[in-house]
Assembly symmetry: C2
Homo-oligomer: 644 residues x 2
């Protein structure tokens, strides 16, 4: 690793005590992970079966049967294992660890003598493996299982799965690579690249980093591997539409890709891998490519909730400022991928905008995918829903008006498990003796500053309030810098150090406080958190004449249950007054916003008529956090509201 | 026919001299019909081939080859023949008549000994005919050819094609019907029903009306024919979505259908057939069903342009007030079908609203499908176009930003030929001694009032001006009533009779003037035709906060070429002043509207920002008639404009 890059403070050095994220971690432990274990074992009534454990059992010779489910079904188990590993790293649990160990034993049994491991081809014929790199997800599954192996090793010190996966990697390296006779291919669905860099973080084996770099450098090089493969497989499904090879981010070399294109989850995982490789290899051209793509995503192709991928067609990016709220895709996995990409950009260089977007995604477009009960899931995260349209408009058939028990293609639920269980990983980065605080969440962080072990204890009621305190504990005085991110959503803030106005320097969205830290030193950051009316760039046609309401990092929305149907007939008046209050009994405890509003009065029946002065009735609008929508039954919802 | 229904004054009794519609008739004669003859013969360079004449040649044994094109390809020739017949009825043309006669000879040669006539099965195996009523369009093609036969007989008195088609009808009646052993089926794509009533209008053979009534009464009766057929054919493509059997308007008996559902062209043709059968049979329950469906279409499911069918999926209706302007389908054929349905409702009962909708469709959503040059066509008629979105947004891939030369499925171009060539048919209806003037277009109409031959000469500059005069010529005084439609778009109007304030009674949107008509009597109708700002019912979400501009029957639009790009950033101010002026050199000669407008000034780059007061720059807006859009290159267009 190049010395001048920050690195995330590892999960096991961060104890999250936060009421908000702590709640999600607890939900992961007590609900999401156990529920999904049942799902992976096909034991959820009236839900689409997973077949995941079944496939491994058959592959391991423990059961008769054939492969069932999607070609990438193995990855659901991998992501669940990763989530379970994170949970175990912060909350030991004998029963869960036993389940995990038994699954790992199963996985080991399914592995082939040459290291190959993918139940689809183990059960359908190994002679066909690696014959459809474009669509058959073998490296994607390997990537996820590798992440799980790294996570479980870091959580428990047990390396059985890690050894399995190192053998898988060695097998893959024997098939793919720059050397004569090896395939010059790269994953059809990216994921292995970033996983290999995580493995390299443990092994420091240059071959592991080199393989990741090979995949990234080779991608999009002509003659295009996928084009050659297509001569055998036939054209890609995407050939007939506007995406073509860019569905796979494979139409040109990654350093020539200026816009975020194609399947959004693939893109996020690729960019995360690119940022990881850039950091570890010091490749500035690759880092620049990441910066370019970051800007494309976050400045022109991202929803205000951090959702990305605006089109159901290809679950993909479309073009600049094309951000429809109702036909949106906004896959939960893509928002998770954006948070992962952001964290890796923070590991390239400490810029507040990366953390701003990471925060935006995590608090909004990621956890909107999860019910408050932890056992219902959105794949698609709309910003505007009319249930009748979801039912009757074929263009919105992908938009479900309520969270589902499970999916035939169930990538999102276990992704939510692993992200909620590892939230501590997103809070802090460190570069030499500087500790960056990227997200605010009550926690304890154990690091060394100037060689002295230090515990930073963060307290506060974020995201509901902006008062944050950090207290330093150390046995001897420590030399170093604490850099606090000043969120982009905050207009006014104050910072004191042990009760006195703090001395700091601002750089790229961080307030840097340096010097000597003594035991008991405190920082108090006070972020003003008023209700803010937001607007989109006017090039976003769908948001024209509308505003969204935010408070702190949270995007709010109107739901039918609070505000009646026909939310499009509501107008937010220019001089609307906003008030906030805490409702402990509502939606797991939230700050609710009330505001003035106007509702159109119209008793006309005619479809078209001479325009006339509109009558508006004053109403009180009731706003709730977007992430918590659809936890009280099916109804309309909107984030963007017409405004004067 | 029951005596108390009006009947359309036949085409050959109406001479259109109108500059507007006369221009279209001339365009049909000199451009549309000759161009399409070339297209049907596959002689248009760089256009999708029709194969239509080719298929008939092969079926007639004049050429070697196989069937090419869509299963309903025969209907393109039929519609072209019908259009040519209308043109010949108002403008004799030896060369065209010879072409038509030679094609009729070809058709006759292709007909099978038992009367069967459909080149798809003649060339692919007659043993399979009538085996897929649901999807294979044999009766649809027969219906169109039957309409052509009737039209050509009425135009020229030649009955060769009529005799061919009577044999086809006899064959069909031997296969389908209520009698033991016959199939209890009905057309998968409706059309034959209305054609059979047209045939009955010539033959007065009760069997022809009875067959039409059978098809209508049998439709949707359980056990459902299509469901039984599906046991052999497999499920319908539409089974997987929200349409199912209602794609074919076949999910329930027609008298139980309360909403316009399914494929819009099918629906329009069915409803037209229902209205025709109701009129001829005096079936009031069927007439009521027509009224119910009329209200569903025109009061809840129609665009302001008369376009219908809001979804590309199934080219279909969706649900009440779901009228997106950008992802719309609005097939040209469906708007034509709506005009046909409206004319048949006028033949059931004289109500101004039927003529209002007929006029709306003809002046807007029908002829928008045709370039001013007569040789380029829209299949889909959007009310809002952003060319970049058409190219890059898969949801709008069906929306073409420019008219096309031809289509693989080319139903719309010949439909435009037949409607523009027969416009005189839409102007007048007569019920006993009452002549109804439904549309205003300079013309001469020859009828008998009280037994006295009368010529009514209509003059005016409609739709550009609202001054209309009607002059009666007769050798002896005639007793009768002239009923003038007062358009729904008109708020103020004056009516004089030979220079004096006219005595009239108003009923259902018509001003009835009765008494004695002497040679030289005149009526002067003066319809105020200011620019009107229109709004949609607020339940139309997509039009909320927007207005459309109309003048007389014409819907106007903004085009990029006149108003710049980013039309969504334009605001129509509350107090906007409108002026109009004639531009002879523009778009074939139109009245242009100029108005005040405001354009958003925004130099911000950020995707999301704190809402702030908007800066608006006064601009002059340039409105052109919607039907004439996209005749000056590719660019943005919108009908609905944001308004204060």
């Amino acid at each position: 690793m190049k010395k001048d890059h920050p690195v995330s403070v590892p999960l096991r050095q961060v104890t999250v005590t936060d009421s908000f994220w702590g709640g999600y971690m607890e939900l992961a432990r007590t609900s999401i992970i156990p529920y999904q274990w049942e799902a992976l074992n096909d034991r959820i009534p009236d839900a689409e079966p997973s077949h995941c454990i079944h496939n491994f059992r058959v592959a391991a010779g423990e059961e008769e049967g054939s492969f069932e489910g999607c070609v990438f079904q193995d990855s659901d188990l991998a992501k669940w294992l990763e989530g379970a590993a994170y949970s175990l790293s912060t909350h030991p649990d004998e029963k869960l660890e036993k389940e995990v160990d038994s699954v790992i034993e199963l996985i080991e049994k399914a592995q082939q003598p040459d290291g190959y491991l993918d139940t689809y081809y183990i059960l359908n014929g190994l002679d066909q493996r690696w014959s459809n790199i474009r669509d058959h997800h073998e490296m994607y599954c390997a990537g996820h299982m590798l992440e799980a192996a790294v996570a479980y090793y870091q959580a428990t010190g047990k390396d059985r799965l890690l050894q399995v996966m190192i053998r898988v990697v060695e097998h893959i390296a024997s098939v793919f690579g720059p050397e004569e006779g090896k395939k010059k291919a790269y994953p059809g669905h990216e994921e292995l690249e970033l996983a290999l860099v995580r493995l390299y973080g443990i092994t420091h084996d240059p071959a592991h980093l080199a393989l990741a770099k090979f995949f990234i450098d080779e991608r999009g090089q002509y003659p295009l591997y996928f084009e050659e493969e297509a001569k055998r497989l036939g054209p890609s499904y995407w050939d007939n539409g506007p995406l073509k090879w860019m569905y796979y981010q494979a139409g040109k070399p990654v350093r020539e890709q200026k816009d975020a294109e194609g399947h959004a989850v693939r893109a996020m995982y690729l960019y995360s891998g690119m940022a990881s490789v850039a950091r570890e290899s010091g490749d500035e051209t690759l880092a620049d490519a990441c910066r370019t793509l970051w800007e494309s995503v976050t400045r022109r192709r991202m929803y205000i909730t951090g959702a990305v991928g605006s089109s159901e067609y290809g679950e993909a990016f479309t073009y600049d400022y094309d951000l429809p709220n109702d036909t949106v895709y906004g896959e939960t996995c893509a928002a998770i991928g954006l948070a992962m990409f952001a964290r890796r950009m923070l590991e390239l260089e400490p810029k507040g905008e990366y953390a701003d977007v990471m925060e935006k995604a995590l608090y909004n477009g990621v956890i909107s995918g999860l019910s408050l009960s932890g056992d219902r899931f959105f794949y698609v995260n709309p910003l505007e829903v009319v249930p009748e349209a979801c039912e009757k408009d074929y263009l919105r058939r992908h938009v479900k008006p309520k969270r589902q028990k499970w999916f035939g293609c169930a990538c999102c639920p276990p992704n939510l498990a692993r992200v909620t269980a590892s939230i501590g990983w997103y809070l802090y980065t460190q570069r030499e003796d500087t500790l960056f605080v990227n997200l605010y969440a009550a926690s304890e962080c154990h690091v060394a500053l100037g060689g002295v072990p230090v515990t930073v204890t963060m307290k506060g009621n974020y995201p509901w309030g902006g008062e944050i305190s950090l207290c330093v504990s150390c046995e001897t005085a420590a030399q170093g810098t604490i850099a606090l991110r000043i969120p982009g959503w905050c207009r006014n803030w104050k910072l004191t150090r042990s009760g006195k106005p703090a001395e700091f320097t601002m750089q790229n969205g961080y307030a840097y406080l340096s010097g000597t830290w003594n035991d008991g030193d405190t920082l108090e950051l006070s972020l003003d958190m008023p209700v803010e009316r937001m607007e989109a760039n006017p090039l976003v046609r769908e948001d024209m004449g509308k505003q969204a309401v935010m408070r702190g990092p949270l995007v709010y929305c109107l739901e039918e249950i609070d505000n009646g149907a026909c939310l499009h007939e509501i107008l937010l008046p220019k001089e609307a007054k906003f008030t906030t209050h805490r409702e402990d009994a509502l939606l797991g405890g939230v700050v609710v916003i009330e505001s003035d509003g106007l509702r159109l009065q119209d008793n006309g029946n005619s479809l078209y008529r001479f325009a006339s002065e509109k009558q508006w009735k004053p109403v009180s609008l009731h706003w709730v956090p977007y992430y918590a929508w659809n936890n009280r039954g099916v109804g309309e919802m909107t984030v963007w509201v017409r405004s004067e």
